[in-house]
Symmetry: C2
Subunit: 168 residues, 2 copies
DNA sequence: TGACTTTATATCAATTTGATATATGTTCAG
DNA sequence: CTGAACATATATCAAATTGATATAAAGTCA
């Protein structure tokens, strides 16, 4: 278990592979860090830095570690997936054709970048089993979506245009 | 655009195909319905029902329709995916082998059900283009994940057990 | 040089969740 | 045939979360 500051935790969630299925903002991270320190689950060490505010480096305590182990031993909640892109596709008939084509392409780019990012992180450092497992899971899921978008682009955009033309 | 009550909207999100990528609770649906009615985006009609509270059936107004069209004409936010299952896999080494195997199997079942549900809804009623598109997107994404879980089950669970044995 | 990005913590209004309250009808096992 | 559980239906609320903003200084780059 590595040590980290609140800022570094946020960065990890944004940039590391597991950012694919975990999310948290400063407004939840900092209060959680404070509360968990009070409860003895974490210990803090302040690193002084010229100018910048002190960097508070948190480390998990033995107590925190056993609490974590307990917290993991429950049935996980269902996966949650939200996609404004798919919502816009669902109501595609209401959108101008050029905007639809634009966001379709943007989504393809976004998925390509996301997959590339996960792959790259995996290559950079050798990962433990769990990290490798979730990385590959992310890659296959996102790739399936990307592949679907690439294969159905012409047909879907074309069909929607025809559907709209018919309605007018 | 069909008409619906708050309760029916919740049911749709839970049970219909687009529930795969949309979520909302009563605490957000009812206030939103009220606010949007005040703003003239929706109209309400109360259906009296013996015993049960009146069913409030909402319909989108022309004003609401044009507001919706405008709201759709923006760049969609990034997809969000959260998975406690993957989080537990990430930290798989901290979990007892039997619990790990249990939730692994449960996740496979969950994905199978989810895929079956989307497929079934598609067969039940002929869908418009957008609905068909998002249904298939969901099916291919979830299937890729399911497939990955099925193919890597032995190896991943076995490797984690070995890793834990080594550490002790 | 001046604008933008990065490091770093923290707070806050607004929104959202998940749970609960209320009330009645339906369904199904024992 | 009864009683428990589930479904219909609206609504609210504490607690959690988001997304934005504040503060402050260093580094980067045109």
């Amino acid at each position: 278990m590595r040590e980290a500051s609140g800022y570094e935790i946020k960065k990890m969630i944004e940039e590391d592979v597991f950012g694919h299925f975990i999310e948290a903002s400063y407004g939840s991270i900092y209060p959680a860090l404070g509360r968990m320190t009070e409860e003895g689950l974490l210990s803090v060490r302040s690193e002084e830095q010229a100018g910048k505010p002190d960097k508070k480096v948190y480390t998990i305590t033995p107590s925190g570690l056993s609490e974590l182990a307990m917290a993991l031993e429950v049935d996980p909640a269902k996966d949650k997936f939200r996609s404004e892109f798919l919502f816009q596709m669902l109501l595609g008939e209401m959108l101008p054709a050029n905007h639809l084509a634009l966001i379709y392409e943007a989504q393809i780019d976004y998925l390509r970048e996301e997959i590339a990012r996960i792959k790259q992180r995996g290559d950079e450092s050798e990962q433990h089993d769990g990290m490798q497992f979730v990385s590959k899971y992310g890659i296959v899921s996102l790739s399936a979506g990307l592949n679907y978008l690439e294969e159905n682009k012409q047909e879907f955009l074309g069909r929607l245009n025809k559907a709209k033309a018919t309605k007018q």
